[in-house]
Symmetry: C2
Subunit: 254 residues, 2 copies
C-alpha cells in the first residue's frame, strides 16, 4: 500500500486548490468531508473521482474502499488535515465532479429560490430543509454564497445530492413560473405582504427568500405573484432566514 | 480621557475570565458584543456593569456612553480583541450581570424546553425563534450548552433579554405542566409519535426538542402528553433542531 506523504505531491497540490471557489470552478470538482457525506455521494448519481483515506483509518473505512470503482488514495493524517476544512477531521474525504448538465426543473413540485444568501451554514440548512419538505429543487440567484463551500456542504448533510440545484437569474424564473400560471411567493416585512396563514397549501409554486440583512431585493418583490410575511408575536425583530423558509415550506406544501 | 492600555490591568484580567463558562459562573457576569446587543441590553431590564469602548470608536458610539448611568471604560483596540470572541470586532462590548432571580414561568403562554442542545448557534436560534413565536420562556435542561456563550448570544440577537429563561430539570416541569392540565409535547421520530398536523393550535403547552444527534431522551418522551413528528417527504434524514422547533412553534401557537 502506497501512502502519499508529501504535501508537494502534484495530486495533493491540485486537490488543495479545491479549498477555494476559484480552484473548484477551474477544475469543476469539489471536496466532501467525513463518512456521512462520502456515503451520500456513493448512494447518489454523483461522479466520485477519488476517495482519500487517512492511512490510520484504512481498516475502519474498509467498507468504503474495498469494492471501490474509483481511485482510492491513502495519505497521511497531516495531508487529510491539509485538505480538510473541519477541525474534527474524520479521516475520509472524496473528490467529486460537479454535475455537467443539470436536469431541467419541471415545477411539478415546489422550488425554493435564494436571493443573495451570504452565510454558508444558512445555505446548507436551506437545502437540507427544502429536501425534507419535498421540494423539487433550489435556484441559487446571483450573489448567493458558493454551494460547494465546505461549511455549506456540511450543513446540507448530503441534501445537495438529492435536489435539482441550479445557478440562474431569479427574474427569469419568476417569468417562467408566471407563464405556466404557477405562483411565486416573495417574502417581505412591509405592508404590501400578506400573512402566510392566508395562503392555502398547494403543490406547485416558487418561494423566494433573501439576504440575511436586507431580505429579498425590491426588484424581485415587484414581480412576484404575492409577498408573504410571518407574523411575529414577541420582541424579536426578525427570524433567521432558514427558520423562516422552513416555516413557509412546511406550511405551503403538505 | 483615560485609556486602558495594559492587558495586565486588573479589570481587564477579570473581564477576560468571562470568556469561559467557569469564569462567568464565578463572577455571575457575562459579555455581550457589538452595538446591537449592547442596545438590546440597554432597552432591557438587564443590569449593565460596564460599557467597554475602543478608543477609536468613542465618537461613533457617542450615543451609547454620553448619558450612561453605568461605568464606561475606554480601551485600546487590542484589548477589545482580547475580550471579544468574534472575528469582526465592532469596538463595543458590555459587561452584564446575570439576573439574580428569574421570574416564575406562569405557563400562560407556551414554553420551549431544551434537552441537551449542544451547538451554541442552535441554542441562540432556538431562543430567537421562541421569542418571535411569542413564547413565554425557555427551560434549559441539564447538559444544554451555556446560554452566555458568545456564539449563543450572537445567534439569539438579544432575544435572551426578552424571554424568561431558566436552567432546570425538565422532568420536574413535565410534572408541573401535567398537574395544571397543560400538555407537554415531545418530539420523536418513532412510531409512537403523531404528526404535528394532527394537533390543533393552542395557547398553553410545553414543547421539548432535543440533542442534535440523539433527539429527546427516552426517559422524557415517556412522560410527555404526546410526542410529535414532522413528516419528511424528501430524502433528508432529519431536520436541523432549530428548524424543527420553528415549524412546530409557529404551527402550534398562533
Amino acid at each position: 500500500m502506497e501512502i502519499i506523504e508529501s504535501t508537494q505531491n502534484k495530486r495533493i497540490k491540485n486537490w488543495k486548490k479545491l479549498l477555494t471557489r476559484k480552484g473548484r470552478k477551474k477544475q469543476s470538482k469539489y471536496i466532501v468531508e467525513g463518512p456521512h457525506l462520502v456515503e451520500e455521494a456513493m448512494k447518489s448519481q454523483a461522479v466520485i473521482e477519488s476517495l482519500i483515506i487517512s492511512s490510520e483509518k484504512i481498516e475502519a473505512y474498509a467498507s468504503y474502499h474495498e469494492k471501490a470503482e474509483f481511485d482510492v488514495a491513502v495519505v497521511t493524517r497531516d495531508i487529510i488535515k491539509l485538505l480538510s476544512d473541519s477541525v474534527t477531521g474524520q479521516g475520509i474525504l472524496a473528490i467529486i465532479k460537479m454535475p455537467e448538465k443539470v436536469k431541467e426543473l419541471s415545477g411539478l413540485r415546489p422550488v425554493l429560490m435564494l436571493d443573495e444568501i451570504q452565510d454558508p451554514g444558512n445555505l446548507g440548512t436551506l437545502i437540507r430543509t427544502a429536501d425534507a419538505a419535498g421540494f423539487e429543487g433550489v435556484i441559487l440567484g446571483e450573489g448567493t454564497v458558493d454551494l460547494y463551500n465546505s461549511k455549506a456542504l456540511r450543513s446540507a448533510q448530503g441534501s445537495h445530492f438529492h435536489l435539482n440545484i441550479i445557478h440562474d437569474d431569479l427574474k427569469k424564473w419568476i417569468t417562467a413560473f408566471s407563464e405556466k400560471n404557477m405562483p411565486v411567493f416573495g417574502t417581505a416585512l412591509d405592508e404590501r405582504a400578506i400573512s402566510f396563514r392566508e395562503v392555502e397549501p398547494m403543490n406547485r409554486f416558487g418561494l423566494i427568500v433573501g439576504n440575511e440583512g436586507n431580505g429579498v431585493n425590491a426588484s424581485l418583490l415587484e414581480k412576484t405573484t404575492e409577498n408573504l410575511f410571518i407574523p411575529i408575536k414577541g420582541q424579536a425583530e426578525s427570524l433567521n432566514v432558514a427558520i423562516a423558509a422552513g416555516i413557509l415550506m412546511f406550511a405551503l406544501y403538505r
